[in-house]
Symmetry: C4
Subunit: 325 residues, 4 copies
Amino acid sequence: MSIKKKKYSIKPEEEFQDLGFGVKVANQSERLINQDGSFNVERRGLPFFQSLSFYHSLLTISWWKFNLIIVISFLVINTSFASIYILLGIKNIEGITSKTFVGNFFDAIFFSSQTFTTVGYGAIHPVGFWTNIVASIESMFGLSGFAFATGLLYGRFSHPNAKILFSKNAIVAPYKDMYAFEFRIANARKNQLIDVEVQTILSLKEQIDGRIVKQFHELKLERTKVNFFALSWTIVHPIDKDSPLDGLHYKDLIDSDAEFLILLKAFDDTFSQLVHTRFSYKFNEVRWGARFKNIFVDDKPGITAIDLEKLSDLEILNSTVSGNN
Amino acid sequence: MSIKKKKYSIKPEEEFQDLGFGVKVANQSERLINQDGSFNVERRGLPFFQSLSFYHSLLTISWWKFNLIIVISFLVINTSFASIYILLGIKNIEGITSKTFVGNFFDAIFFSSQTFTTVGYGAIHPVGFWTNIVASIESMFGLSGFAFATGLLYGRFSHPNAKILFSKNAIVAPYKDMYAFEFRIANARKNQLIDVEVQTILSLKEQIDGRIVKQFHELKLERTKVNFFALSWTIVHPIDKDSPLDGLHYKDLIDSDAEFLILLKAFDDTFSQLVHTRFSYKFNEVRWGARFKNIFVDDKPGITAIDLEKLSDLEILNSTVSGNN
Amino acid sequence: MSIKKKKYSIKPEEEFQDLGFGVKVANQSERLINQDGSFNVERRGLPFFQSLSFYHSLLTISWWKFNLIIVISFLVINTSFASIYILLGIKNIEGITSKTFVGNFFDAIFFSSQTFTTVGYGAIHPVGFWTNIVASIESMFGLSGFAFATGLLYGRFSHPNAKILFSKNAIVAPYKDMYAFEFRIANARKNQLIDVEVQTILSLKEQIDGRIVKQFHELKLERTKVNFFALSWTIVHPIDKDSPLDGLHYKDLIDSDAEFLILLKAFDDTFSQLVHTRFSYKFNEVRWGARFKNIFVDDKPGITAIDLEKLSDLEILNSTVSGNN
Amino acid sequence: MSIKKKKYSIKPEEEFQDLGFGVKVANQSERLINQDGSFNVERRGLPFFQSLSFYHSLLTISWWKFNLIIVISFLVINTSFASIYILLGIKNIEGITSKTFVGNFFDAIFFSSQTFTTVGYGAIHPVGFWTNIVASIESMFGLSGFAFATGLLYGRFSHPNAKILFSKNAIVAPYKDMYAFEFRIANARKNQLIDVEVQTILSLKEQIDGRIVKQFHELKLERTKVNFFALSWTIVHPIDKDSPLDGLHYKDLIDSDAEFLILLKAFDDTFSQLVHTRFSYKFNEVRWGARFKNIFVDDKPGITAIDLEKLSDLEILNSTVSGNN
């Protein structure tokens, strides 16, 4: 063949994948990015066993849960091995003095724990063949378990845990001689973040060739990068005549199921690693005609201080912004 | 075949190393990049011992094999040390009660295992000089072994294991008012990949100064980067008049032993690391006049879902694209 | 003071956040970046418990303190568990020979230490139910503790500890046919730093719309990057007519509370990681009419040598630069 | 003051620090970059204790030396503690059966080793107060030591150990209708290197304002980057009329003490890390009128193979290149 000309007919699947999302239009309340930064999507057909989720969960759950899991694992393993020792016959462990079954079981647990942690006092020790085999397996298991715990502990500590606080609402506020779409962020961790870059994308449902598809528009920001991120940062998209928001009313945002997708990239100077965060504001999380209150605290000389609890504080303006301009 | 001749005199070795491949032309079926992303090349003269391959293999083999290797190593080490203890004389270990050789051997194994894991109950313990020395070495060996295992386990977990699924075939399909070379990819892991960049290079045998050499042409993509990679992505190279594919027939691709080399770079947000993948399509893995079927699943409200098993599904078009003009 | 007034109406909060600092103007002596590279700011409302500061402190304190903490922790844990064993009744530990309370307490400490380190000789071993339980907990605690220590030790060693020495003073010195703002840096570690980039920003208080706010001006450097950083590097900002320093007197710098903020980025070739450093010179740390003395040492043939102790050495010029016109 | 004009007078220290080297001119045989990639410079005044060199040495020495150090440390520590136990009185260790001093000393060593590795059989165990204290310290020391070894082992394995082979000589060879400066490199490790970038800088002694100073000139390369580095790569600097080498004779290179500095940057795909290498050719390591022999091996169908041992193989050309052109 030689390649033939064909009449223009847009293939939306390719056209709108700026963000790796498709163009499927589902029900109105759907959002693309959840408030925790995860994507509201589903990939089917993934292999059943995914070790990542297991390991990664152990890395990111709270210390409270992590320690609980360690303790419970230790108890379960101990009890399981103790049961095996009982099944193999308590007489194969020398040094057991209890006469009751319950006493024997606890002695088996103590023996198991002394084996698992390799403390091995020896006052109770295995004598039978299979008990020796199982004790040998358990001690190896124990060391492997703590090897695993070592890796996990290091992983938990060395994993950058950047957390950016986003103001609860984005706002549309007067800005210079026009209006601007704004939101405010702050660093919720003691980590030092530098070279912070923000990208804001507006997702709108639009009608193209009679089909309703999702369109993505990048919003031009007044400033896309700060060198330091020691305090808070108000990100500003001025709604000039080139803005996709120009001339849109609040009702238009509802109708086009608007969602403001925020991508944030920073270098975590504490962990020497690049970190990424995502967030989104749905149309109903944008307040029209409001302004962020001052976040600076002025009671301490010689230091610049902000109060993170004021991050989302808004001041309602008396102008008639919402609806139309 | 319609290979173009170029006039200027060049030194091919320098000219065609865009990709770090040479210009040697071997038999027709050769491919430069294997489907697992490795290069189909050989470097001789490398030093015999390369610790990397050993350690790196242990990092990347399946958990099933990894655990098997750990268990077998444990058994081999234990048996070896037990043999040494037997050779040194079983009487140098106190607490042995068996009278038979087999019984002694197993006792030696139990002693060895209690030493290797440092559980050291003490009911069996070394008394002879050399047995003490060997036991001392074994316990040190044991701790080193588990130090090694700790590193391996952490390495296995913290190593980004990005895996990109490529559609089984690339296609040449109608696109806008022309044709396009396309293939489709999806993330086969739960890892979050962002800032995904793709580069596609066409390798062709061409005749230059009477010599047949490999030429590399970058294919211009409609989009080379996506911010997110939450779903699937169809990469599109429009075959316009600047494309090296312009005017080529399927037979030309056969004659010039065409291979489409894919380089993919992404940031693994889960492991905070850059990952790279390679893939290639040989001419016979490209389907002409086909289109990728819809991968989206529409049965769940409020969420965008795809089915990875449909990634390679093609729809054959009724036009007469494939084969010849 | 000669602070210029600007006419247009702006919202200072957005306008001046180039560096992520606000515009609050506090007392004169305030500096934005401390000499150790930390920011002189405060963020309130952070959650009380921040594991980072704990772990990160353990990573960055001196070895002397680190080892002291390890030893004290070991002592405290041992003594605590010993107290519990005493409370549970010393008769529940078999092998105790002391008759006095103090003797018993030390025996409990020895038992505790043998349990915590999992050495478990067994000559002293638990017999009572609760003592067995506590000993089991302690041995698990011990292994966890050393798992933690392993991670910490690795973290301490693998964490890049780049340290840049900055000359005590910056200078304003004759340069070509004009003057230049200069400072000198050197690498205080044996780490190999490459691709070193410097950015210098001048912070000035200026009067805008009757409000006094902080303004940030980037200073154009003669060279912003060096490939190697094997020796010292004198960073030079020529004060040409585009420089924000052009026409300013020393008194102007005092009046506008000038601070020169230095941002430095480098690749640590030894640890294969990107490192960042910050520093600042306040107006009173800038010497006018001085020049850096030669830092090269010339007594060894075949090698280029510098002496870090000469980094801040200045030569006062006889011209009448400092003070006033 | 206001800044005054001054007659142009070059300050060489700032002018020529493109590479972070100074301009001091020492004896002829000096080179800036050693063949192992280290800098031939010295920084004095560094703090005496630099933990980096200790840890980093342990990371990069050969496995043979590393294991030797581990074994020797184990022996030294064991013997030292054994001596302490002897000093404290052998009677404070129960279970010692030897009657001679040498026998006691070896028993003390066995006890020490059982304590250090925490195997703690218990057949020999401490009874005296101070012996108990020291044993407690030793067991803690032992665990710390193996924690340290764990970190080291992981560090050794996870540290990218990229090694680039450079051809023994650089060449000046005919190239198209002119000449070119060339050298050839190959990857000496099994690691996969991608996105390899090369920068070549020529260092020359030149006379400026009557002073002899070092000048650095970047050499424009025909290609500065390859995507893959699966085989070998010949780096080519065409000596056109813009080249600093244009018109220079071999004798000129001698007179100006020429050194070709090579900086190489690559992404190690195996370890997911950026790696850097440096190399240099002095004027007497450049062969004029030679060409690199073919490195490809042609004896295996279906695979492209090179032989690393041919990397430096040269073919002397019959033309009269050296001397002048």
